[in-house]
Symmetry: C2
Subunit: 411 residues, 2 copies
């Protein structure tokens, strides 16, 4: 049997469902936050799969599970994987499918070709979603040595537990986090659901990611003057709500005019004092702006900033902006993209190059390795919800592309 034959839809489905049983939420959802009992059970299951495959299994200092198949030539590893934690609730596929993919790809390669020339590893990353702690990319940041020493005692979940305490509750010592760092990873390959509608709209099962979007989260506070809704004429108001509406329409318009893949989202707002009959004195909202290419990204940011300044100045409002998050675009390794593309071509799987509009562990891994990503079609473009769905057929096709590429790299 060929690698593509070994990786069939039924096997994929069985693995996804087995993993989804840990932290199952409702009919189709998953609620599996880092260092919870459900999370531990899921990581144990991945470890047992790796052990059954005859891989050398280890758990690193933050709880990432590694399964290692030593290469005959040694040297830096070819690693595949993704994360095992979920949104609250999330679906069965976000992260988990990439872990399943890595296991099945290595399994198929080992079964078909035996020991590789270069070391291959499976990794099930502990945390990506920031759904319990604001620990974004905890697993991959540990691997690239990107966790700051103060963080374990500074990040808390909603019940006041620090991530350090949560680590200790599953037998991990926060003081040892630096030991999770790796400098011997050549390439990191991540399969992930697309989480958007682009593949579905194009009628394709698989996408090959050329770049992961850069993104900036900005908090904008517009301060005006609270006034009586009846007694203060329109002309002399300092109305931050009218200003916010103008900025929001303008920022959404900036992204629309720039065209795809530029996106700008205003998802969060707070109004003070938030009373029907009172002109607000303060409106605070966020702008999430993204583009995978540095130049248009910088242009998008500038457009938004200019807009905020000019609206505030014209309306006599005080504007305070604060950058909450700022990730530069991450370019996937062009050679890996070409290899992935060639693999899809060989397998006769229709695929397209695309960007990722969402952030991924690969962004972090790129600090120390070449990275490549395979996307599989999301039905309805849904994600971060129990309604998230990818067919086992599409998933199998993506895994076949992943395995074929790993074969090219490791054998």
């Amino acid at each position: 049997m060929s690698v593509a034959e070994i990786i069939d839809a039924r096997t994929v489905e069985d693995h996804v469902m087995a993993l989804a049983s840990h932290g199952a939420f409702g009919e189709t959802g998953v609620w599996r936050t880092v260092y919870s009992p459900e999370w531990s059970a899921a990581q144990d299951l991945v470890a047992s799969w790796c052990a059954e495959l005859g891989l050398e299994v280890s758990r690193d200092a933050v709880g990432n599970i590694w399964g290692r198949l030593e290469g005959t030539e040694g040297g830096p590893s070819i690693v595949a994987g993704s994360h095992v934690d979920s949104q609250t609730p999330g679906g069965r596929y976000d992260g988990a499918l990439g872990v399943v993919a890595a296991v099945l790809a290595v399994q198929a390669l080992k079964e078909r070709y035996g020991p590789p020339r270069r070391t291959m590893e499976v990794v099930s990353l502990c945390e990506e979603e920031s759904s319990r702690f604001r620990a974004r990319f905890w697993g991959s940041r540990a691997i690239v040595g990107g966790i700051e020493p103060h963080e374990p005692d500074a990040l808390f979940d909603d019940s006041g537990i620090s991530i350090a305490e949560a680590m200790r509750s599953v037998g991990l010592d926060p003081a040892r986090i630096p030991e999770a760092a790796r400098a011997d990873i050549d390439s990191f390959l991540e399969l992930h659901i697309e989480q958007g509608p682009i593949l579905e709209d194009a009628g394709l099962p698989v996408g090959l990611v050329r770049a992961i979007t850069g993104l900036r989260h900005t908090s904008i506070e517009l301060v005006g003057r609270s006034d009586h809704a009846g007694a203060r004429p329109m002309a002399s108001r300092l109305d931050p709500m009218a200003g916010a509406a103008e900025v929001i329409s303008g920022a959404v318009g900036d992204a629309l005019r720039m065209g795809p893949p530029a996106v700008t989202t205003i998802g969060k707002m707070a109004v003070e004092p938030n009373l029907t009959s009172t002109v607000p004195d303060r409106v605070t909202f966020t702008i999430d702006a993204r583009h995978p290419d540095p130049e248009p990204l910088a242009l998008l940011y500038r457009s938004h900033q200019t807009l905020i300044s000019s609206v505030a100045e014209r309306r006599g409002l005080e504007a305070n902006t604060r950058i909450l998050l700022d990730f530069p675009p991450c370019v996937c390794d062009p050679d890996l993209v070409r290899l992935l593309e060639a693999a899809a071509g060989e397998l006769g799987i229709p695929a397209m190059r695309m960007h990722s509009g969402a952030g991924h562990d690969s962004q972090q891994m790129a600090a120390r390795s070449k990275v490549g990503m395979v996307f599989v079609r999301s039905i309805g473009g849904r994600s971060h919800t129990p309604a998230e769905y990818t067919t086992a057929d599409d998933a199998a096709k993506g895994i076949q592309v992943l395995a074929t590429t790993m074969h090219e790299l490791a054998y």
Copy 2:
């Protein structure tokens, strides 16, 4: 001494400060909600002032304080007053100044002219602000028989106390509310701070209200579809935040284009799920729209409704609108407006006709009486804040106009 000489700034100031000592909040504020101990103390003070004047003092079934000076000819009364409750916190003048005005006007008239031909009454209304219960105009509604039988047990404050319980705590029996109704009030005259900047901008101490604004509060819920902020392209979003921004800008624009005195305010908003990286699926906000004249008011409402429908339809959003509050404009009695104007002219007090953009007890009283209102200048147009301020000089001028008009009516 003339009535105008009797009503001097010093006397006004003393009365305002005495009333403000009950429920004093910070340096210049007042926190005096209906049926609280501070409120009872304030009403007791008004009752004692009335008693000292030799008026016949009574407390009606909802706790309004009345001071009656019987006219030699009897017949329906000429009543002056306002409310004694405050915002949380509010200032010293909103409501309270109208109560002080009524006391000082009747005092000056009695002192200067003795017993009136027609009965004059002072009223200190129990509740207008809805700052403890959503009981808007509780005092004046009781007087016009406008409180529904279910209300006393259906209105609760933030600590879960019903207005019926609160009434009982100050010795009032909710079952007797209908007894507060009066059918023998000929004219109700209310002096109030303007709460806006129109008089200040015009450089005038006093305004004569020709109409109280009509107003409608509408809650608008726009429902779209939640999507990942990075993975969902702009063109296929159903973004209720972008829709809300467009409606808000458009509604504010409707009022601006119509020109003064049209006003439209968006003061309240809630976003779901309210996350930075997620296109919201639901944005709910309020529109407060006002105009004192029925035709432009109807036009303003129609413009807003058309806007909401067209934005929702074009953007594929579901729009659910709900009217929360709907007060028609209240026209002050033209004869009373002319009398007030003539009084200001006689006294040499510069004044202008204007509308009230805020709601007042007079709106309710108009159901059974002629109503007239005197506005006095608000410094900076501020109100519903401890920063609210009206000079004792301006207040005295307004009270002189009130007293002169009452003389015309009652003697």
